[in-house]
Symmetry: C2
Subunit: 264 residues, 2 copies
């Protein structure tokens, strides 16, 4: 297996990879005996056993578009992407952000075209899993099948969190909660944290489009949080300074903050 991994790994040679995001060794290393890395190892196992290729997606480029029919599912190896939908008049809703280890491109059944688009935020790289191999994974009843189901469930819980943010929280609560969730995901995903701050390549417009707000309002709200000393943002980095106060604002019991939504 290690051989297979290295085989895939070696293919990266030709492409200009390694953005500042998703650390070189953090990404998808089979960090075998780590509990925390277990789930990612699961996804990694799928990449190792079923990926037929990888694809580099430069920042700003589309991985796939709504309505497109494709044979593939993708797993993020490096970089950040987001899945989104655009209404006829240009309004955009970001459905979720995909960090290394995320599965991207779900449809309800194999023949369905994509119901949304995916675009890279930073330079990114994804592994390509053909859908017929996904079926194969499931039919095999292997550990990977379980991983796939759990990944889907986790994505669903994430969507439910965002639903609550947008539907029933104020802009301030919503943004606070969002930052806490992202902080947690970034930590899980990888990444050295230089001086405690984390890589955070989202623009205020990204945040707004994820939370149903305008970038202007995100800016104002974020400014307040910053001036109150709860967070530090800017220059593509995020640092949560006062996690208790931020959790309070998010309407999350601070003890939950560590394991936000228990979506461990």
């Amino acid at each position: 297996m290690a051989t297979a991994r290295i085989d895939i790994e070696s293919r990266t040679g030709p492409v200009p990879l390694r953005t500042p995001y998703g650390s070189p060794q953090g990404g998808l290393r089979p960090n075998a005996s780590s509990d925390v890395a277990e789930k990612k190892n699961g996804v990694l196992g799928i990449v190792r056993d079923y990926a037929i290729d990888r694809r580099f997606v430069p920042a700003g480029a589309e991985l796939f578009a709504e309505g497109e029919v494709s044979e593939n599912l993708y797993i993020v190896l490096d970089g950040w992407l987001f899945q989104h939908r655009i209404l006829e008049d240009g309004r955009r809703q970001i459905l979720d952000f995909a960090l290394p280890g995320a599965v991207v491109g779900y449809r309800s059944h194999p023949e369905a075209p994509f119901a949304f688009s995916a675009e890279a935020i930073t330079n990114a790289e994804v592994a390509i899993i053909p859908l017929n191999r996904v079926t194969e994974i499931i039919r095999s009843g292997s550990e990977s099948a379980l991983t796939l189901l759990e990944a889907a469930n986790e994505a669903l819980l994430g969507a439910f969190d965002t639903l609550t943010d947008i539907g029933r929280r104020t802009a301030r609560e919503s943004i606070a909660h969002f930052l806490l969730r992202m902080d947690r995901r970034i930590r899980r995903s990888a990444s050295a944290n230089d001086q405690g701050s984390l890589p955070f390549p989202l623009s205020q417009e990204h945040i707004g489009d994820a939370l149903g707000l305008t970038s202007v309002h995100v800016c104002r709200t974020l400014s307040k949080l910053r001036s109150e000393g709860l967070v530090e943002t800017g220059r593509g980095r995020l640092r949560i300074v006062d996690i208790d106060a931020l959790s309070e604002d998010a309407g999350v019991a601070s003890c939950d903050a560590g394991d936000l939504r228990l979506a461990s």
Copy 2:
């Protein structure tokens, strides 16, 4: 198999079942050779092969609550339920509605407590699938495993639709889109449609809590749609009168209306 099904079916005897919703024969009959019923048959297969019991949930009662730890997953056999989350100050976000055939109670991994609650809208009945049997299903690599993954994916797409409604559509667009989606789901789920109208047990407050609106605003918006002759609502029923106009309002190409979001 037919025997097993009937066995389960026969257990319904003692409980006061059969609400006006979810028709007696529409529900979960193994309508073997129908294309449309294929997916439901899938879920039905899971019930047949893996359910250890069924549970009656009277209207207004809770099936499970956020934070609760449980060994079970549920599949709706009859009636309507919804999954929701309540913030400390009482604000409620409905995450989705569960009609017959829906899988209810997902968590990201088996040991996690519920991240939301579930409550019955009408009298309802669910099949109980122990989580260890879910794992078993996956490991078996059977058709049921595929069904389970597809159900999760479909739930995810539904959440993405709602996300777009709440985040980026106006109340009118959002409600129009919601009604179109529900119409489609109700038709799929079962149900004789007396005189063209469908059973629709949701209060305006349910709709509001699903779409991030107040019941007052839902009322006003619905009144307008009604007075413009687009829909008929009330007394627990729904009838979409002018599907083209409603689709237009929802911002969906009317040709898509039939197979909304292609989430076939």
